[in-house]
Structure formats: C-alpha cells, structure tokens
C-alpha cells in the first residue's frame, strides 16, 4: 500500500518537474496605447491579442488605454508592474514624446523589458538604458513626401493645392509636413494656396475644406497628414459635387480610405500595419526577457530604428484589400528584424 502511494508521489513529482522545465511560465503582456476608439489603435490591440494567442497566454494579455492622458498612461503602467510583480513586458505608444522618459525611468527601476513606438525625444538615447529594448518608428517624412508626389502627379504636376495639417506641434504632423514641403520644392508648377490645421479630425477637415473651396474655388488637389482628415475632405468635396474630381491623399490606411482609393476619390495613403506593431512590440520585449535577444549585444541602429511602411495607391489597392483587409498576412512573430530599414540616426 505504502509503495503504491510512493509511486503516485514519484509520478506526480516527475510530471511537475517536467511541466516546469518544458512549459514556459506565462508573462504578462502589457500594451499601452491611446484609445480603442480609432481604427488604428483598435487594429493594434488585435495584433497584441493575436500574439498572446499564439503563445496560449490570452489571459495574460492586457491593453491599457490612456485616452490622451499622459498621467493615466504612466499610472496604468505602474499598476500593471505591481499587479504582475514585475513579471511583465511592455509595448508602448507614449502619449507624448516627453512621456517616454518618465516611462523608461519607471520600467528601468523595476527591471521590466519594453519597446516604445513613434514618440520619443530625439536627445534621449535608448542605448543609455538596459531594459529599454528598442524604439521603433516610421519614416513620417517619407510618408508625407511619397503621398504628395503621387497627389501632384495625379493632377499632371501643376495647379493649386490645399493642405490639411494634423495637431500643430505633434511630431508626426511636423515630419509629414516636412516631407510635403520637400515634394513641393520638386514641383515648381504646384502652388500651395493655403493650409489649415484640422487636428487629425474629420469634422474639422470637412469645415476647413468647405471654407477653402470658397476662398479658392479652383483647388485641384488636397494633401492631408492623415486619413481621417482626408475622409472629411472627401465628404466636403462630395457635398459640392467634387468628390473624385479633386484627388485627396492621406496617411494611416484606415478602411474608409482604402475604399476611397478603390473608388477613385483618393489617390494615396501609407500603412504602418498596426496589427504587426501590436504583436511585434510584445514579441521583441518578450524575447529580451527570455534571453532570445541579448539587449547589450544589439548595435545602436537596432535599438532605435525605422520600420518599413506600405505605400498604397490605385495600383496595389486590390492586393492590399486581399491581403490585409479580407485576409490576414502570415506573421512570423519570431522574425524580429524583418521590417528593419535603418537606424533612426542613420541618413535615409
């Protein structure tokens, strides 16, 4: 009888040890983004969920939304660190550039690995930190420049153009604007007759474009720093029977914009693939925690880097719809550097 119990005990012990050795202990996967109320970040959250699911850690996937409050973002991050007792990695879209510093100091103190996106002060160097695995962004200047060129070509390289800026002082707005300016210099026959800041928003874009069309009834094309504003512009054009006649460009690749390109009302947008961002940020941070990526061995241009974007025009819009909207591309979450283009501090 006693031998029987011993056998059961031994079997259990072996099973437990074996389980501990082979199954990885789950780690909390924290995603900190602005909100779930816009298609871009909603898709981001989907990507995070898909990555967690690929590991079977669905219950450990935590999405934190700050709704535009820097303080809430930092507090939510602190709370998750405390709740998980430090057994957590983060993928963060800092609410504002300056927030990256406070977040980095907090996570560094708690020895939590993390990846940041988009917003970081230029003078802050990721290489000064041990747990800040990398900062990834996209080439906003290229997005502004490429969409502007396609827009200008669509009207034969000459005529009056109007432009909508994002929130003034936002780094994405400033950089996309610089790209747009660069394209303007290359097209001497294009005249920028006016621009307004529509703060990334649809209704403001609608109002500004309505007014601009009174000031300049002969506007030939409208460049927008993001897609929501581009949709607002298209609706303002539609109310005046001009949708499809005055081409519009944007950035972000929201579904409405893809439809507009398909319908010939818009000519260009840029996708950063939020789904990929959502999964890859977590994957890289987790790889660092699990030792698959040795942070101290990474060269500087992989600590702060620019990732590939997809320029969408009428030429490839069908391919994009097939692969990104109707279907999902196959993501290899272990191929960390697949979309690496260059270091941020390297010239493009």
């Amino acid at each position: 009888m006693r031998k029987g119990w011993l056998l059961v005990f031994v079997v259990c012990a072996v099973w437990l040890v074996g389980y501990g050795a082979f199954a990885e202990e789950p780690v909390y996967l924290g995603t900190a983004i602005r909100s779930l109320a816009n298609p871009y970040h909603a898709m981001w959250a989907e990507g995070a969920k898909a990555f967690a699911h690929s590991l079977g850690w669905d219950d450990y996937n935590v999405i934190l939304t700050c709704e535009g409050s820097s303080e809430k973002q930092l507090n939510d991050i602190k709370a998750l660190v405390a709740r998980s007792k430090g057994n957590v990695v983060f993928s963060i879209d800092p609410n504002q550039s300056t927030d990256a510093l406070a977040i980095a100091n907090e996570l560094e103190k708690n020895q939590v690995y993390f990846v940041t996106w988009w917003n970081k002060p230029d003078e802050v160097r990721v290489t000064d930190y041990k747990y800040w695995v990398c900062h990834i962004t996209f080439d906003n200047r290229a997005s502004g420049y490429n969409t502007a060129k396609i827009l200008f070509d669509a009207i034969g390289g000459k005529g009056k153009v109007f432009a909508l800026q994002g929130l003034l002082g936002n780094s994405a707005a400033i950089e996309r604007w610089e790209g747009f300016q660069k394209a303007l210099k290359e097209y001497p026959d294009i005249e920028l007759v006016g621009w307004e800041a529509a703060d990334w928003e649809k209704v403001k874009a609608y109002n500004h474009v309505s007014n601009a069309l009174i000031a300049h009834p002969d506007i030939k094309a409208i460049w927008c720093a993001n897609d929501a504003m581009a949709i607002g512009a298209i609706e303002a054009l539609r109310a005046r029977g001009l949708a499809g006649k005055v081409p519009v460009s944007g950035v972000d690749a929201i579904p409405e914009m893809i439809t507009a390109i398909k319908n010939g009302e818009a000519v260009a947008t840029v996708a950063s693939d939020a789904f990929w961002q959502g999964g890859m940020g977590l994957s890289i941070a987790l790889a660092a925690k699990q030792g698959k990526i040795k942070v101290e061995e990474l060269p500087e241009n992989k600590r702060e880097w620019i990732a590939k974007t997809i320029l969408i025009t009428k030429e490839n819009v069908d391919w994009y719809i097939q692969n990104f909207i109707e279907g999902k591309p196959q993501y290899d979450w272990n191929n960390y550097w697949e979309r690496w283009v260059r270091g941020i501090r390297e010239q493009g």
Binding site: A42, D199, I214, R238
Partner: protein, 326 residues
C-alpha cells in the same frame, strides 16, 4: 454739465450690451466682406448655412441647459453614440439592417434617454451637472467604442445620406431640419410655462422653488430635450460624413458652449434665448470661415477665437449684474 453725459451713457451702454452679439455679427460680416469679396457670394452663404446647421442645434440645446444655470459636457458622447447607432440601423457595410429614416427616431430616443439620465442623476442625486454629464459623456463614448471596436461603420444608404448632404434648391437639408428644430425650441422657450421656468430657475433657484415651480422636473426636462436634440444631430452627422464614428463629434461640446456664450447666453444662468444661441453659432462659424478667407495664419486662429470668447463672457457677465445693481 456732469449729469448729461451720465444719462447718455446709461442709455447707450445697455443698448450695446443688450445687442452686443448681434452687433458683433454685423461687424464681422462687414469686416470679412470688405477683406475678401468672395465672402458675399451666394456659394459662401450656402456654405455657411451648411457649416452652421449642426452647431445651431447643439448650441441652442446647450443654451437651454446654461439658462437653468447648469452645464452639459456629454454632447460629444451622446452625439457620437447616436451617430454610431444610426450607422448600424441604416444600410451599412457591417450588418444587414435597412431601417432607413427610422434610425432618426431611434437616435432621438437614445439621446432623450441619456439626457433624462443626465437630468435625473444631477437633480435627484444632487451631483453637480458638470460631473454628471462628464460621466455620462464617458459612458456613452465607451458604449460607442464597445459597439464599433473603434472602427467607423461605413453606411451605404444613399437615401439616408441625403439628410446630411442633400439640398433643396441650394439650401442644405441639415439647415432646413435645424431651422425647424430651432422654431420648435423658440416656441417652447417663449410661449410655454416650461420655457419661462427655465429662466426663472437660472435667475434664482430658491425664488423659483418658493413660487411653486417643480425645479427638479424642469431640470430633467431640459436635459432630456437637449439629449434628444444631440441624438438627432448624431444621426445627421452620420448622414453627413457617411460613417458612424464615435470620435467624429470631438470638439462639439466646446463649440456648443462657445456658441451660446458668444450669442450672449450667460454661463451663470438666467439670461438667454434661442435667437441668441443662433447668433452665437453664426458668429463662431463666420469667424472660422472669414479667417480662412482672409488668409489668417492657422497658428493664430485658435488664439483669436479664445480671446473673443473671454471678451464676450466679460460682456455678458457684466449684464447679469445689472438687475443686482438696481
């Protein structure tokens, strides 16, 4: 010698103060018209009617709330949620519904519901209106996010879209609908006891109570009415933009309050009317229109509006003191 300029001032200053917003509207029109001849074209007139139409509805709704001495910060949430619900009910790309114009009725109901909720929580539980409505604003916004998962719901019902983009002759449909609503509100305010009580409560709630006015009931009614109007605006906004988008009405709360105040509705309650709210909405719309026509730098436009707002509040507050000074 010293008496005559004083009496002159006494008649002149109140006249300016009483009609400051109408005078400002005339002044702006002359200024912008002089600066750019395109301002006085027919196409710009119809453009301004298009741009003012939703703001004049939310602005008048807000002026009712302000007149009772409260404030409503739930505009964006309620407009956004109704807009999203409208997009789910008409023909759209996300489900197979096709209820057409019936969506407008549902939106009115949804707005009314949350408006009544605002009023009930605020007056029965005695939580300040700015806190209550802020909370309801967040809740409605949250429901909208939950329903859409953050993606705008694109509508394909061209009949419904005519509400937002169609015109009769050159006059935008939204402006016609807005005008009808304003006439109804004007009637309610000027010709019913409910309307009189609103100003009475805003003027002095204690006296209104002593007179036997059921203050709580009136307040719930005002918030309900405002909510119902936000609901209609939500449906119209969806028709205008072609999608139900919870983030679309961002800025509506500020604009509604600004329009009321610019029109001369006292933010402290007790003073206001529907025509005042309409004038305020026109001032705000014409300001934005004119600044673009004049080519004023976008870097300073926001600042100009802010400065004018403070100036106007100073004027209206001064007027509110006149009865007290007597």
């Amino acid at each position: 010698m010293s008496a005559s300029p004083k009496t002159k001032k006494a008649t002149f200053l109140p006249f300016i103060q009483e009609n400051s917003s109408a005078l400002a509207l005339v002044g702006l029109t002359v200024l912008f018209g002089g600066a750019n001849p395109r301002f006085f074209t027919l196409s710009n007139l119809f453009n301004i009617l298009d741009l003012v139409s939703l703001l004049m509805i939310t602005g008048s709704a807000m002026s009712f709330v302000l007149m009772t001495g409260s404030i409503d910060l739930s505009v964006e949430g309620v407009v956004g949620l109704s807009g999203v619900i409208a997009s789910f009910l008409v023909k759209n790309l996300s489900n197979s519904n096709d209820f057409g114009y019936f969506a407008l009725v549902v939106c009115l109901g949804v707005g009314l519901l949350f408006g009544l909720l605002n009023g009930a929580i605020f007056s029965k539980l005695r939580i300040p209106s700015f806190m209550t409505t802020l909370g309801i604003g967040y809740i409605t916004n949250g429901i909208g996010v939950l329903l859409t998962k953050g993606n705008p719901v694109v509508i394909s019902d061209w009949g419904f879209r005519q509400l937002g983009v169609g015109r009769i002759g050159f006059v935008p449909n939204t402006f016609i609908i807005g005008s009808l609503l304003l006439v109804i509100m004007w009637f309610v305010h000027e010709r019913t006891f409910f309307g009189r009580y609103i100003l009475a409560i805003g003027g002095d709630e204690a006296i209104a109570r002593d007179l036997g006015i059921k203050v709580e009931r009136i307040k719930v009614g005002v918030f309900g009415l405002a909510g119902a109007l936000y609901g209609i605006v939500g449906a119209l906004l969806t028709a205008k933009l072609g999608s139900g988008d919870i983030t679309a009405p961002r800025g509506f709360t500020f604009d509604s309050i600004a329009a009321s105040v610019l029109g001369g509705v006292a933010i402290t309650g007790g003073i206001g009317s529907v025509p005042k709210a309409l004038i305020g909405a026109l001032i705000l719309t014409i300001l934005r229109n004119g600044m673009i026509l004049m080519g004023i730098s976008p870097y300073v436009q926001q600042g100009v509006i802010g400065a004018i707002l403070i100036f106007t509040v100073a004027l209206t507050l001064d007027r509110a003191k006149i009865p007290v000074l007597k």
